[in-house]
């Protein structure tokens, strides 16, 4: 070998050592990066899980969009963790992939439950419809068919365009997929965003093509109707959605009806009715009541127009007071529209349930407006003039006949009914629709109206449209644009009780309207949502406009200034709207595969991939193993920069430090690392707290306490150091600049602290676990509860299982979290062996006070 080659080779070999070190350093860096990603995914997964839990528990509104997004997000995070652990320990935990797949499959199945098969016809004539065909025709049309064919009542001639037809329409050219995509991307919490989205989707639907076979079926059915009613017959197109009008849920007034439609506009009108499924009221209603989009299949009724002389609504019982069994009829001139949209005063007839019903009371009001439908102009709003204005819209005979119909329908269906009717030119009654009445149980205590000073009374009188009382700042809504700025918890004040305001009811504390009665759509939605509503208060808008906060006592029919707890207290709490809804049930079921934690004890035999039953189990397992793998890697590679070092503060401490990445300010040679060389901000914060206030020494232990300690020491296997790995024996920190993981065994208990604290506020978290102790169970419990109390005061979410405490706080800015770490440092020192004295209440109180005082002092100091 020539001399030059030898030298070269020698030089290369000498250079190889630093290269290896560099490679190892890089390897560490990469592992730490994966570890950090894994921790981030863990944090995200836990966040979504607690979001799911809170959503299930509370009254927060959510829809399928939330369910799908939450499930997808949690699966993505958990899968990232599985993948991350595979990077840290290749081939070691591959069983996790199978467990994850199995759980995800379950969740997918739950989310994708198929709908049961339905009648495949695209249109069904009214003569063939009945209750059993609700799935195909929607509730409204199935009911009309039922009462026509089984009770022999008069209904307008017509046919149903089925839910199957609507499904074809939405499936055509992937319309539904596009709608879902836009909905998923929207921020459903923001009303203005939702408003724009709703308009956009409705435009898409109105422009979409109707599948040819559906178009043909509709036109054929219309031709058959023309054969029955005459050429060019005008029809009304009304929504007959599946899921609407099912008793507990009245989708009152959310969908469009198109009146006076001829052959030429039939298909456009059909699309417009379908589009109203995505109208703002309908979208918000589904969100608020927990219906999935796909739970609402849109059937549409096509009914010949009735030339209505008078119209209105009849209730087979008092809709606001279920104890009042009398029949209530609202009547106006012309179409019932004026009653339904609350835009004019209407006559009221009250009848007994006798056979024949007896007219008990008639209140004839001045009817200013009416709606009529003319073949050419369509539906027109007219001023009522002349004597008609003050004449009753119904004769006594008609009122009695209507009450009979209402009672017959109640008997047939077995529940109180809400029936829309009209009288034709011959004076005959025609039923336009019927549905179960949403009555509300009044507050149980019929509390005597609390005495009030007169000056606080703002309005008195009106009609209880929905009983109860609510308080909040007044918000006067006059234009549609006001929908967007309505604040949560305000009192809605409007001139007319129009259906358009219904989308605000999920956020309103109460509703006040100058016009309108209990028969309108807004009133029935208010009753359903349990929102107190007081209608028919002339001048309310001006009187309340500048009133600030008011209390609306709808039951007592008054509005008073300020917030009156006495009035509010008498009210039953609102029922959680989502409970029992299809979406709630679905999320509950999916959550069973996500949220429960079964793997608790890392030392147990069951702490293994095959025992992971939920996604939470998987995250728990992976987290534990990832920390272990990170630590082990540092130990296995005897590489001076990265092996653990003993902390040296004046003297060597029993604390070992493992630098994961950038945890030291400089390269540290030898066995020891000094405090000044530590760059890890959370660790330094912990140290500040740990050393802030000197320990008073072990608390005085009574004889029983000491015995108990000795007893535990011989039986508690986790105290038997021989069987524990080095990992668990002593206090060690794994650190990087913004991360620290502390495992601490002080005295007889152990604690772990994990913190990621940087300028990425959303990713910041701090978790603290605390377990064990040497005293008997009761004393350990007492200590755990004391620590929990302190941490909860600091904003931690705390969970306790037996003597195991888990506390977590997340997404707070760096300085806030560093302060909390200081407190944990303080607690780590000062609660040591606390359980010895925990049986003594005076001492417990002494320590509680001392801790609080110390912590206050700690928090008051500026960050070092």
């Amino acid at each position: 070998m020539p001399i030059g080659g030898y030298l070269k080779k020698l030089l290369r070999r000498r250079a190889a050592a630093p290269d290896d070190a560099a490679a190892l350093r890089l390897e560490f860096k990469e592992r730490y990066h994966h570890f950090k990603l894994l921790l981030g995914a863990n944090c995200k997964a836990l966040e979504v899980m607690s979001d799911i839990e809170e959503t299930l528990r509370g009254e927060r509104l959510f829809g399928m969009t939330f369910v799908r997004a939450a499930c997808t997000s949690v699966c993505v995070s958990v899968f990232s963790m599985v993948r991350g652990l595979e990077r840290l320990a290749p081939g070691k935990y591959t069983a996790l992939f199978e467990r994850f797949d199995a759980i995800q499959k379950d969740i997918e199945e739950i989310l994708a439950r198929p709908l049961p098969p339905r009648d495949p016809r695209l249109v069904i004539p009214l003569a063939e419809l009945n209750r059993e065909l609700t799935d195909a025709a929607g509730g409204k049309m199935a009911n009309l068919g039922e009462i026509r064919n089984r009770l022999g009542l008069r209904v307008p001639p017509g046919f149903a365009i089925t839910t199957a037809a609507a499904e074809r329409f939405f499936a055509h050219r992937e319309l539904q997929t596009e709608i879902d995509r836009r909905l998923q991307a929207a921020e459903t919490g923001r009303l203005d965003a939702l408003y724009a989205l709703s308009a956009e989707i409705q435009q898409m639907i109105i422009r979409a093509e109707i599948p040819p076979e559906v178009e043909e079926a509709i036109l054929q059915a219309y031709a058959a109707l023309e054969a029955e009613c005459g050429h060019g017959v005008k029809v009304a197109l009304r929504s007959s959605a599946l899921g609407e009008d099912t008793g507990e849920n009245s989708f009152a007034g959310q969908y469009r009806s198109e009146l006076n439609v001829g052959r030429d506009t039939l298909l456009t009108a059909y699309r417009e009715v379908l589009a109203s499924k995505y109208g703002l009221p309908a979208i918000t209603y589904r969100l608020q009541r927990g219906f999935r989009d796909e739970d609402i299949a849109m059937g549409v009724g096509c009914l010949a127009m009735v030339p209505a002389v008078a119209g209105g609504v009849v209730y087979s019982r008092n809709p606001v007071d279920p104890h009042d069994a009398r029949v209530f009829i609202n009547a106006v001139w012309g179409l019932p529209k004026a009653v339904v949209d609350g835009s004019t005063a209407c006559d009221l007839f009250v009848l007994s349930r006798d056979d024949p019903p007896e007219l008990l009371a008639a209140e004839v009001r001045e009817k200013e407006r009416k709606y009529l439908c003319y073949p050419e102009e369509g539906v027109c709003r007219l001023e009522v003039s002349g004597p008609e204005r003050l004449q009753p819209a119904l004769t006594r005979e008609q009122a009695v006949a209507l009450a009979r119909v209402a009672l017959a329908l109640e008997r047939h269906y077995g529940t109180p009914q809400d029936i829309e009717w009209a009288t034709d030119e011959a004076g005959e009654i025609v039923i336009l629709q019927c549905r179960p009445l949403t009555a509300k149980e009044p507050p149980t205590e019929a509390a005597a109206p609390a005495a009030l000073e007169e000056e606080s009374l703002l309005c008195r009188g009106g009609v209880t449209a929905s009983p109860g009382a609510g308080a909040g700042p007044v918000f006067v809504a006059e234009r549609a644009a006001d929908l967007l700025s309505f604040p949560q918890g305000a009192v809605l004040v409007v001139r007319q009780a129009l259906p358009r305001w219904a989308s605000l009811l999920g956020r309103a504390a109460a509703v006040v309207a100058e016009e309108g009665g209990f028969a309108g759509h807004l009133a029935s939605v208010a009753r359903e949502f349990g929102v107190p509503a007081l209608f028919g208060l002339p001048g309310a808008v001006e009187r309340l406009r500048a009133a600030g906060e008011v209390t609306v006592d709808a039951t007592g029919r008054r509005v008073v200034a300020g917030r009156r707890e006495a009035l509010l207290a008498a009210q039953a709490p609102r029922r959680p709207l989502m409970q029992g809804s299809p979406v709630h049930r679905l999320l509950e079921e999916a959550a069973r595969r996500i949220v429960p934690l079964n793997l608790l004890d890392p030392d147990a035999l069951e702490f293994a991939p095959e025992h992971c039953r939920t996604l939470h189990d998987i995250t728990r397992f992976i987290h534990e193993k990832a920390v272990l793998e990170m630590f082990r890697f540092g130990q296995d590679h005897h590489f001076s920069e990265r092996s653990s070092k003993q902390l040296y503060v004046e003297v060597p401490m029993q604390w070992w430090i493992l630098n994961l990445d950038d945890g030291f300010t400089e390269e540290v040679e030898g066995r020891y690392v000094r405090l000044g060389q530590i760059a890890c901000r959370p660790m330094l914060a912990f140290w500040r707290g740990f050393t802030a206030i000197p320990w008073e020494g072990p608390p005085a232990v009574d004889g029983r306490g000491m015995l108990s300690v000795l007893f535990q020491a011989t039986t508690n296997r986790s105290l038997n150091l021989g069987v524990r790995s080095k990992f668990a024996e002593r206090n060690y920190f794994m650190i990087a600049r913004s991360f620290c993981c502390l495992n601490q065994r002080l005295g007889f208990h152990f604690a772990t602290l994990e913190a990621l604290v940087s300028e990425r506020t959303a990713e910041n978290y701090l978790s603290f676990q605390f377990k064990g102790g040497a005293a008997d169970f009761e004393r350990r419990m007492a200590r755990v509860h004391l620590v929990a109390e302190i941490l909860e005061d600091l904003g931690f979410g705390v969970e306790i299982r037996e003597d195991h405490l888990v506390a977590r706080i997340e997404a707070r800015p760096e300085p806030d979290l560093l302060k909390r770490i200081e407190v944990l440092g303080y607690l780590a020192l000062h609660t040591r062996q606390m359980d010895m004295v925990m049986a003594n209440p005076t001492q417990v109180e002494h320590y509680r006070r001392k801790y609080r005082a110390d912590i206050e002092q700690l928090l008051a100091r500026g960050s070092a």
Binding site: H33, G40, T72, C75, R181, Q184
Partner: protein, 140 residues
């Protein structure tokens, strides 16, 4: 965030435009493509570190685009950003090597952090390959 180069792929021009503007405001070298095909063509002649990809697009769909990108440019990290919450698809994307699967609407900071993490992953991987090459180089 160093000199990260990001390609955003989305078939909604409005969304893409807004995103690019906001990214450029944050001094990110951000580029846009309106389809998977366009993205691949762009990548064949321009370097990129991270691709942010919509899942559902006209033409080549997101997952095919993801696979094609990972095949042609294995070091490029791909983040899916989508309005489509679908478990199976999300899992397939991750299994096909996606860095993450995010759902719209996404917080801009959160997206930036993801891009930063993906970029760091790529940088580490490149360093590792370089040092391996050097190690092999020195021993032969």
């Amino acid at each position: 965030m160093g000199d990260v180069r990001v390609l955003f792929v989305d078939d909604e021009p409005d969304f893409l435009d807004t995103l690019l503007k906001r990214m450029q405001k944050r001094r990110i070298a951000a580029f846009g493509a309106q389809s998977g095909e366009e993205a691949l063509a762009w990548l064949s002649s321009n370097p990129a570190d991270v691709v942010v990809l919509d899942v559902r697009m006209g033409g080549m769909d997101g997952i095919s685009a993801l696979r094609a990108i990972k095949t042609a440019h294995p070091l490029v990290e791909v983040i899916l950003l989508t309005g489509h919450a679908n478990l199976e698809l999300a899992r397939d994307c991750l299994a096909a090597g996606a860095f993450d699967y995010l759902m719209k609407p996404v917080n801009l900071d959160e997206l930036l952090y993801k891009i930063e993490d993906a970029f760091q992953k790529k940088a580490l991987q490149e360093k590792k390959i370089r040092s391996l090459e050097e190690a092999i180089g020195t021993r032969t």
